[in-house]
């Protein structure tokens, strides 16, 4: 009897093994990663893996060090998450194997990173030592080190790092009032273009979805610094008959327009004449909120979201909100903009309808809301509440809470759909 049961079990085992279904072995059922993501466990250095279709936690990867202010980018096949930790750790995590595949300590104090458009380079932005380091995305081998040296022996803290088309990265120097653009097309010999005097204390930045405008928020003054990156890209105009006669050489008449990128001030003096309110947490600009022609930006020292026309870069409105905005994020379709706030107003989240420019909803998903992330097409938003140890999944149409997940001190939430978006 016993023996027969054993045999039967063995037969079942071998047939399921043949089908590649044996649990616990390397041959798991095939699955994609397009609906996966990660939640940062801020206090315990753990990455929680989530499935946005199942609306569930599917695993956890501990051992990532100090994850206060951690951020994440994804390989463009959506298999690897690159986690930038506060302590300078850069960790490559395989989402399907649910394990750390590579990890390097690349700085003493780090604030985030970006991945190049072609997915081959991962760049980290560092406070200590101030600068940018560029790694091979596959091996995490260091390829380029660009210290943000703005005066002899002085390194600036780097903020607002974004990917630009063509293996370039743009970033801002908090201590040097500068924006640098580093071209890593030959990563062993990076070339850096520097823009000085862009305004006082750039604290973060964004790049618009077309990769054209780089915008840095300024802590030290009202307004933002913007660079039109297309202006520096000079198409040549053909001067001679085209195509050239046989055997002849093409001649070129020079650039099509005067081409030099320069820094422009936008929204200058948006708080002029008024005493700024205390900023208990710096707004984050990454993850642009561009909806149609309009961009929505957090004011600094004012409880307002600023609305700017992306054709003219003139202010076209201000929306009073419940506190100092931290993240101002557009639902992927641009119909809504969701806003969260700095302490002591961080139990609230507000929703702006971009058709009416009105706040249509104020939610209280939990204590200390730190981050929000939309599912790839935005039918739901995931919101982390650090002090309630939970992530709420909210329907963006009905604003009903679909479910809540228990996660200890959750902060950033990042879904693999970021891999396909410029500046995320």
């Amino acid at each position: 009897m016993k023996r027969r049961e054993l045999l039967a079990a063995a037969a079942t085992l071998s047939s399921s093994a043949a089908l590649g279904l044996l649990p616990g072995c390397a041959s798991q059922a095939l699955r994609g990663t397009g609906d996966l993501g990660v939640v940062i466990g801020r206090a315990n250095g753990t990455l929680y893996l989530v499935d946005t279709t199942a609306q569930a936690l599917i695993g956890e990867v501990p051992g990532l060090g100090d994850l206060s202010h951690a951020s994440v980018v994804f390989s463009r096949d959506g298999l690897f998450a690159y986690v930038f930790g506060r302590d300078g750790g850069l960790t490559q995590v395989n989402l399907l194997q649910q394990r750390i595949t590579r990890r390097v300590m690349q700085a003493g104090n780090s604030i985030g990173g970006a991945i190049s458009a072609d997915g081959t380079l991962v760049a980290a932005q560092n406070y200590k030592p101030g600068g940018v380091k560029v790694f091979d995305a596959r091996t995490l081998e260091l390829l380029a080190d660009v210290p943000a040296e703005y005066a002899s022996g002085k390194l600036s803290r780097v903020v607002g790092l974004v990917d630009l088309p063509g293996r370039r990265f743009a970033y801002s120097l908090f201590d040097a009032n500068a924006i640098w653009v580093t071209d890593c097309s030959d990563p062993k010999h990076p070339k850096t273009q520097k823009f000085d005097n862009i305004g006082r204390q750039p604290y973060d930045a964004l790049v618009t979805p077309n990769g054209r405008h780089y915008i840095a928020g300024l802590f030290g003054e009202d307004g933002l610094a913007m660079i039109d990156l297309w202006a520096g890209d000079c198409p040549q105009v053909r001067a001679a008959p085209s195509p050239p006669f046989e055997g002849g050489k093409e001649t070129w008449g020079g650039p099509a327009f005067p081409c030099q990128s320069k820094v422009q001030r936008i929204l200058g003096g948006y708080g002029k004449g008024q005493e700024p309110l205390p900023v208990y947490k710096m707004p984050h600009l990454r993850g642009w909120a561009v909806a149609g022609r309009r961009a929505y930006l957090p004011a600094i020292g004012r409880h307002e979201v600023l609305v700017v026309d992306t054709d003219t870069w003139a202010e076209v409105g201000r929306i009073p909100v419940a506190g100092q905005p931290v993240f101002v994020m557009a639902r992927p379709d641009g119909r809504q903009v969701w806003v969260n706030f700095a302490v002591p107003d961080y139990h609230r989240v507000q929703v702006i309808d971009t058709q009416s420019q009105q706040i249509v909803q104020t939610l209280e998903p939990g204590k200390a809301v730190l981050h929000m992330e939309f599912t790839p097409r935005g039918e739901a938003v995931w919101i982390s509440s650090r002090d309630d140890n939970r992530v709420s999944i909210i329907d963006t149409q009905t604003f009903a809470t679909r479910t809540r997940l228990d996660v200890p001190a959750p902060s950033g939430i990042f879904f693999t759909s970021r891999a396909a978006r410029v500046g995320f």
């Binding site: 801020r42 100090d66 202010h69 104090n109 406070y127 947490k281 710096m282 302490v343 200390a368 002090d387």
Partner: protein, 116 residues
């Protein structure tokens, strides 16, 4: 927690006595926990959860060794104009700011970790 408070009171007796003369009460236990959490988490958004620095400077015991207690308490309470350090007076009393300053200089306590 209590033990270490007693120990540091013994070690830093004169400093504490002086401070207590100006700033009377040690906060209630619940408020003390809230303050520790606030420093670790909210101050931590600029200074790092482990207070090793970020956009704001490091607030470890070593980093603050040479900073006068009065200045430290004043920076917490009034902020530091021209830098991103805001005044915290809307969320703290002056004695609480002073208590935080003292605890920072002694090496700030860890949060009691509460698992859900």
């Amino acid at each position: 927690m209590r033990c270490s408070a007693v120990l540091s009171a013994l070690l830093l007796g004169p400093v504490l006595a002086l401070a207590q003369a100006q700033a009377p009460a040690v906060p209630e236990a619940a408020r003390e926990r809230a303050l520790v959490r606030m420093v670790r988490q909210d101050c931590g958004s600029c200074h790092g959860m482990r207070l090793t620095g970020g956009l704001g400077p490091s607030l470890t015991r070593e980093a603050l060794a040479d900073v006068p207690l009065d200045s430290l308490a004043a920076v917490i309470f009034h902020g530091r104009p021209g830098t991103p350090m805001p005044p915290w007076r809307a969320m703290l009393s002056e004695p609480e700011a002073r208590w935080i300053a003292q605890r920072l200089q002694q090496g700030f306590p860890e949060e009691m970790v509460k698992t859900p």
